[in-house]
């Protein structure tokens, strides 16, 4: 008995299952989604407009607000974009520190994802553990940069300050602790039959269409395509560290994406250890920039990208030779994942899985609408 009557459900903006302040309008028949429509704009602050009014240094302080769970790729992108147009050199140590910050940011973003993914499936214990353990990484950030969430640390020409004394050993300690805890998470989350049942075969992205549809990051790697900006378009010193881009989990469902992230957080811990080994002890960490009020960047443009925890984060930076940026356009991975892709793959899914799928894609509203 097939009934053609549909019910409309507004998933969000006030809903515990939504990943931030956005809304997915679902048309459902019984328990099955027949049509999904993403509505965004609840977090629009007009960053790109604000940056036109601010000078190059002031813009640096607001870029990190673009993506809340993982602000550092934004700073990195902005800094690299400016450096590329201006031709500014970055000291070697600063580049290592940038990598360190980026990888730590990735680790904390993945820990937050652990919480989101398991929480959306109803397993709250993992969320409590991983978000609690994430505080240790945030503590490191706090020591290094002064801020838990927004760091404003990577700036054009280097980083804001040098590592504190004994910082490296503390990073190593936290990495050891988190690696140990990851095994606990595995036991409760990945070994759980119910979790496997909930995630396998859900939210399938056809691998042959994945690139064309603009999928990036862990969802693309879960489709069996080893694509990672850190390998494909290496920035900083990512060509000098060893890591594996996973393409062995290729079922392209929520389960595969979870496995990819589980693999990658361990890779990140490894990268952090290599960075700590290879980082020079001495050296300047930033190149002096001119008086910020008179700092002009020559006319030019750059497209820079960074691999964030959710995928490729791109900045298109344009300068017209004045003290203010002409245009900085941000392309967050969720821009595609959260709108066109989500609308496509939600069709035919059970309403219970909507939140699980959204978490596995890493939809993050602040970067969609800026």
């Amino acid at each position: 008995m097939r009934n053609e009557k549909t019910t409309t459900i507004y998933l969000g903006p006030q809903h515990p299952g939504i990943t931030g302040n956005m809304m997915v309008k679902l048309e459902i028949q019984g328990d099955t989604v027949v049509k999904a429509e993403t509505h965004i704009g609840y977090l629009h602050r007009g960053f790109e407009k604000l940056m036109e009014r601010r000078n190059w240094l002031q813009s640096f302080t607001i870029v990190c607000r673009i993506c809340v769970p993982e602000p550092d790729p934004n700073e990195e992108n902005y800094a690299r974009g400016v450096e590329e147009i201006e031709g500014r050199e970055v000291p070697e140590k600063a580049r290592w520190i940038r990598m360190l910050v980026l990888e730590l940011a990735r680790i904390q973003a993945y820990l937050l994802w652990y919480g989101g993914q398991s929480g959306s499936a109803g397993l709250y214990t993992i969320g409590q553990w991983s978000v609690g353990d994430r505080n240790y990484v945030l503590d490191l950030f706090e020591e290094l940069t002064g801020g838990r969430v927004y760091h404003m640390y990577i700036w054009p020409g280097g980083v804001r300050r040098d590592l504190p004394k004994g910082f490296k050993s503390r990073v190593a300690k936290v990495m050891d602790y988190i690696e140990k805890r990851l095994d606990d998470y595995d036991r409760v989350m990945f070994d759980n039959a119910v979790f496997q049942k909930r995630t396998q075969g859900i939210g399938y992205i056809p691998p042959e269409k994945a690139i064309e549809w603009g999928v990036v990051g862990p969802p693309l790697r879960a489709a069996g395509i080893a694509s990672d900006v850190r390998k494909d378009d290496p920035y900083e010193f990512y060509d000098q560290v060893d890591f594996v881009v996973p393409d062995m989990y290729n079922t392209s469902d929520v389960w595969a994406r979870a496995l990819v992230r589980r693999f990658e957080i361990r890779q990140s811990i490894n990268i952090v250890r290599q960075i700590l080994d290879k980082m020079p002890d001495k050296g300047p960490v930033w190149n002096k920039i001119p008086n910020p009020h008179k700092w002009r960047i020559p006319r030019g443009e750059a497209y820079v990208k960074t691999e964030s925890a959710r995928g490729e984060f791109g900045y298109y930076v344009v300068s017209d030779g004045s003290e203010h940026p002409r245009r900085i356009h941000v392309r967050g991975p969720a821009y595609v994942h959260g709108i066109t892709l989500l609308e496509k793959i939600l069709v035919g899914q059970n309403i219970a899985d909507v939140s699980v799928i959204m978490n596995s894609l890493g939809t993050c509203p602040p970067e969609m609408e800026r």
Binding site: T7, T8, I9, H15, P16, G17, D31, S118, G119, S120, A121, G122, L123, Y124, T125, Q128, W129, G132, V188, N192, V194, F195, K197, R198, N350, I351, A352, D353, V354, S355
Partner: protein
Amino acid sequence: MTFWQTLGAVLLTILIAFISGLFYMGIRRKVIARIQNRYGPPLHQNFLDVMKLWSKESNIHHGIMQHLAPLWMIAMGVSTLLFIPIVYNSTFWANFTFKGDLILLLYLMVFGSLGFALGAGQTGNPNSAIGVTRGLSQMVGFEIPWVMALIAVMIQYKTTSLTDLVAWQQQHHTWIAFQQPFAFLAALLVIPAMFRYSPYDIVIAPSELASGPPSEFGGKYMGLMMSSGSIFMFAKLALIVDIFLGGATSWLWMIIKTLSLYMIPVLWSAINPRYRTEQAIWSLWRWPLIFAVLGLIIASV
């Protein structure tokens, strides 16, 4: 037993069940908090919650059934409790037990949820509607093994009286859990679904349905629902203790037994995600049903 004695016993039973039920929930929150690596709320937190909900000042109107639904729930919770003998061999605490009360209990336990389903349906919230359909499907899922397990016990002991079952266990110094292990296993596996704890919390599923059927119920209604929930929960636990775990010779034993029984679904829920609806039903129709059928076979042979 005079009228006043009965009334006193009834009121005291309700009060003790209410208080212990809320404390059990507090213990649950504390235990889960400790598993989750945190300190957790104080044990009496649920009392404060209920008090606060009762002190809310405004309520919304969606229709007459919506007003009746929480009352319906509390009425069914209380009446379920009152047909369960709490203390063995005590005329004071026997409440309203009579021959054949087990059949009545099976009916009463479904009734509260059905009444609430009507009320939730009237609020017009799609989340409530989906939650209600899920709840009813899940009820079909767990009622079948549950009723079969109870029927197995009834057949084996040729009685439908809870008092008789408790008396038999107390006189033979054994538990039906050992005599009829399959029925007990079936009942045990069904408990999380009855309490709607993980992995069977598909009805309230926050990340899917906001909070399901009670989405539109706030303030005093929510307070009534929490109170009736605590009473009903205690009633269910007492029922299982009476049938399978030998009843109790005093209130203390009752509380010890129900609390230990309660810890099983609590601990189980702490480490499990939520099933999808059809998975939940199939999981209930698999092992619990097999055990219940085995119990029936053993009972009738």
